[in-house]
């Protein structure tokens, strides 16, 4: 390898590393919009009446379920969110007592769904909600893979205009100055709506005042970089089927390094392919030229050969012709000579 190319390679590697770290550092921790809203769910107050589910169904104009909302037998099964169910309440058991937990989108401060979405259909709004824009969505469902809480769902039954569906935190209602549907419907105050930092204060206060009632942890304060939906509970969150292994790093931070390369890769493919195409094209062109050249040469050589042969043949023919003429002339001369001699002899005889 030449010294110059070696240094060139080194410089290239350095540059690519630098851009990588710049990408990661550029994604510094976003601590949420100031004054963004959230909801605090207090599991110790929830009685599992499903009023929140009913309200959610009404305000989002979702199809009515098979069983009415006051049928509590559905709590015997573990349920999850669906394209027509943005929130469900599940029943768990701890020390023989039922405990409940409401499941819906947690509205992460730095949403994994938004970071995985390459068309920007998901957006963290200043209200705190993570909104979804169906007009941008291409239906790749990366958001469903990305979400650590397994929240987004998909309208698989709709072949023409399927959408990703999830809780909206009732952003339209919030902007009108109303409460989210579920919060308004809760008869027990298990759901408190307010500014996120305010809710954290309330949660801390409850835990501090009643250490005997609560587990000393606010779920969502730090999980996955923090969520706008917060939870406090009297039983370990694991019992409520909530993952405690998520860590406190926001999803985008985990993926930004790898994902920062994606645009580069996507951008470089055409160039790379064009280059490859150009090179192959050039090779082909050269080969064709060489071939044409060779053919020409061969043709010229063949022609020259033929001409030579022709000339030789012609010459030979000429020579043979000449020889024949000469022979004929000689013959004629000879015959004439003989005739003359005969005549001379005859004449002599007569005489």
């Amino acid at each position: 390898m030449k010294r110059r190319t070696f240094i060139g390679i080194l410089a290239g590697a350095g540059a690519s590393l630098a851009t990588g770290t710049a990408g990661a550092a550029g994604n510094h921790h976003f601590t949420g919009y100031p004054d963004s809203y959230g909801v605090l769910f207090d599991s110790t107050k929830c009685i599992g009446c499903r009023k929140c589910e009913a309200a959610c169904n009404a305000v989002n104009e979702l199809p009515k379920p098979e069983l009415p909302f006051d049928d509590l037998s559905v709590l015997e099964k573990r349920r999850r969110t669906h394209h027509d169910t943005f929130t469900v309440v599940n029943k768990y058991e701890y020390n023989g007592k039922p405990v409940f937990r409401k499941i819906q989108c947690n509205h992460c401060q730095e949403p994994a769904c938004a970071s995985a979405c390459f068309v920007g259909a998901f957006k963290k709004e200043p209200t705190g909600a993570v909104s979804y824009d169906a007009s941008r969505c291409v239906g790749c469902r990366y958001c469903m893979i990305a979400c650590p809480f397994e929240i987004p769902t998909y309208e698989y039954h709709d072949p023409i205009t399927p959408r990703v569906r999830k809780c909206t935190m009732c952003q339209p209602r919030i902007l009108e100055g109303k409460l989210p549907g579920c919060v308004e419907a809760c008869p027990k105050g298990a759901l408190v709506f307010g500014h996120r930092d305010e809710l954290l204060q309330i949660a801390r206060e409850r835990i501090r005042k009643h250490p005997e009632l609560y587990v000393n942890h606010i779920y969502g304060e730090q999980e996955m970089g923090g969520t706008n939906w917060l939870y406090i509970s009297g039983v370990p969150f694991e019992i409520l089927g909530m993952r405690e292994d998520l860590g406190i790093t926001p999803a985008p931070q985990l993926t930004t390094g790898a994902l920062s390369v994606v645009p580069a890769v996507v951008g470089l493919w055409p160039m790379f392919l064009t280059g490859a195409y150009a090179i192959t094209k050039r090779k082909e062109k050269i080969a064709a030229e060489e071939r044409a050249h060779a053919v020409q040469k061969a043709v010229a050589e063949a022609e020259a050969e033929a001409a030579k042969k022709l000339a030789a043949a012609l010459e030979k023919a000429e020579r043979e012709k000449q020889a024949a003429i000469d022979r004929e002339v000689k013959k004629a001369l000879k015959e004439a000579e003989e005739a003359r001699k005969k005549a001379e002899a005859a004449s002599e005889g007569e005489e």
Binding site: C49, P187, K188, G189, L199, D245
Partner: protein, 507 residues
């Protein structure tokens, strides 16, 4: 190709990492029975080369058919030494030999006699199996148990003594008697077990000799409990005046914040003296202030006298124990919420503390102090003021929020009666509920106690107000109050989710 290798390797490492993070820790093994003893006698004389021995005492007691002398020295008729096959501690080598020879020897002999037997030589780790938790707990020797011993014909006074107390308590004067054996395990085992064995040898009913009999809660719960135990005679007073230390700068005749304490009433309420006298030693019952000084000192674990009396979470403190009483079903309905929602009541301190100047010489004279306390206590109410039930509404219709459901008909008088019944004979309630309206404040909280309390909606707004995130909205307040009270009072019906039981659905 090389990239594929690196990718696989990194995925493998990542997977391992996840396993390491998300892998569940193995749970602890089930605890052993009360008879499980961990033998680690040699740990005192250096590092053990094998894990400690797990020894099931009860199993062996059964195996040798209650013949204690199979393992223990039994002297003076029935005095059992708790040590194994020896009288006193010896050098470690000797002790090791004693254990190995006797345990393994006995196991071998049992096995040769074609009986079920324990591990023999070469099976070291069958015995040396390492530590394990057990369900054993120190026996709470409560009043009922004490009475059953004290009143038993089998418990005779020690030689040369009049009272049969001397059978267990070596001190002769009541106030010097030690109250707990827990500090001296060996003495307790020698005394209790020997005595039980002695009585057993006369074919009389006796106390347990196996570990579980005293140390297993499940086993103990099957024993007879005497409900009305006569008052214990230990030279204690009926009432006493607790005098907090005075500030140095105070004038001599300045009023002091004293507490008249009804010792007799509390005796009847607690299960055993050590509930309060938690560290009475063989010298008798020391005054609290001996260890719990205003500044705290080492003997009292640096708990000051103020903390000793007021620590909310400690069962030995006044407030702690009273708080625990508030969790009883008949109290919890109100008190769970009072504790949660109201600020500390004005005058709460004055419930116990009386401001008064102490006459000359009273502070130094115990008898004078106690009679003064008696006098003050006699002035305290013994019964809750009667409610004038006819003056309170019978049914209250709650319909301010009525939308989906019809107004709720709340049986106000019935509820009040039920709560009043719960504190009918409670001197504690009578003492602390200062006015007839105190009970009303259970629900009508955060307002001056009166016969005409303000409506809930006065403070709890119907609409959500951001600034009031800490204060429940009206709907929450109603449901929380009713359901919360039902839950804490152990009222099963109606269920929280049975909406129509309280308000019918609108058609």
């Amino acid at each position: 190709m090389r990239w594929v290798g690196i990718l696989c390797l990194s995925l493998g490492v990542a997977g391992f990492g996840l396993n390491a993070l998300g892998g569940k820790q193995e749970g602890k093994p089930e605890p052993g029975g009360a008879g499980l003893i961990l033998i680690d006698t040699l740990a005192a004389s250096g590092k053990l080369s094998y894990p400690v021995v797990r020894f099931d005492h009860d199993k062996h007691t059964k195996a040798v058919e209650n013949k204690c002398d199979s393992c223990h020295t039994v002297a003076e008729g029935n005095k059992v030494t708790p040590l194994f096959k020896r009288q006193a501690s010896e050098d470690p080598g000797r002790i090791k030999a004693i254990y190995h020879d006797n345990c393994i020897g006995c196991h071998q002999r049992t096995a040769q006699a074609d009986k079920k037997s324990g591990p023999q030589s070469g099976e070291c780790r069958s015995c040396h199996a390492g530590p394990r938790d057990s369900v054993r707990e120190v026996i709470p020797f409560d009043k009922s148990l004490h009475y059953r011993h004290a009143s038993s014909k089998m418990v005779q006074p020690a030689p040369g003594q009049k009272e049969n107390c001397s059978k267990c308590h070596t001190q002769d004067t009541p106030e010097k008697r030690n109250l707990i054996f827990a500090k001296n395990k060996e003495e307790a085992h020698t005394k209790c077990v020997s005595c039980h064995l002695e009585i057993a040898s006369t074919k009389q009913p006796t106390g347990p000799v196996e570990c579980a009999g005293c140390h297993d809660a499940a086993k103990r719960s099957t024993y007879k409990v005497i409900a009305d135990v006569p008052r214990l005679e230990a030279g204690q007073t009926d009432a006493m005046l607790l005098v907090p230390p005075a500030p140095k700068s105070a004038a001599k005749d300045a009023p002091r914040s004293v507490v008249p304490f009804d010792h007799k009433a509390h005796e009847a309420k607690v299960n055993r003296c050590s509930a309060c006298h938690h560290d009475a030693r063989s010298k008798g019952v020391p005054a609290c202030s001996q260890c719990h000084t205003p500044g705290g000192k080492e003997e009292g674990a640096f708990i000051t006298i103020e903390q000793a009396m007021h620590r909310p979470m400690a069962m030995e403190s006044c407030i702690g124990c009273h708080n625990a009483k508030k969790a009883d079903p008949q109290c919890a309905g109100c008190h769970e919420f009072l504790g949660r929602t109201t600020k500390s009541q004005e005058g709460a301190c004055a419930k116990c503390h009386v401001q008064m100047p102490l006459p000359e010489g009273v502070e130094q004279n115990k008898a004078l102090r106690n009679s003064l306390a008696q006098t003050i206590l006699e002035g305290k109410p013994k019964k809750d003021a009667a409610l004038r039930l006819d003056e309170i509404p019978e049914v209250v219709e709650i319909g301010v929020l009525s939308k989906e459901y019809q107004p709720s008909k709340f049986p106000h008088r019935k509820v009040v009666k039920k709560i009043a019944a719960g504190m009918e004979n409670s001197t504690l309630a009578a003492y602390f509920h200062s006015s007839p309206n105190a009970m009303c404040a259970g629900c009508h909280h955060n307002a001056p106690a009166s016969a005409n309390p303000p409506a809930c909606a006065t403070c709890h707004s119907k609409e959500f107000q951001e600034v009031d995130g800490r204060k429940p909205s009206l709907k929450t307040a109603y449901h929380q109050q009713c359901m919360g009270c039902h839950k804490h009072m152990g009222i099963q019906k109606p269920a929280d989710t049975a909406c129509v039981e309280c308000h019918a659905k609108k058609e």
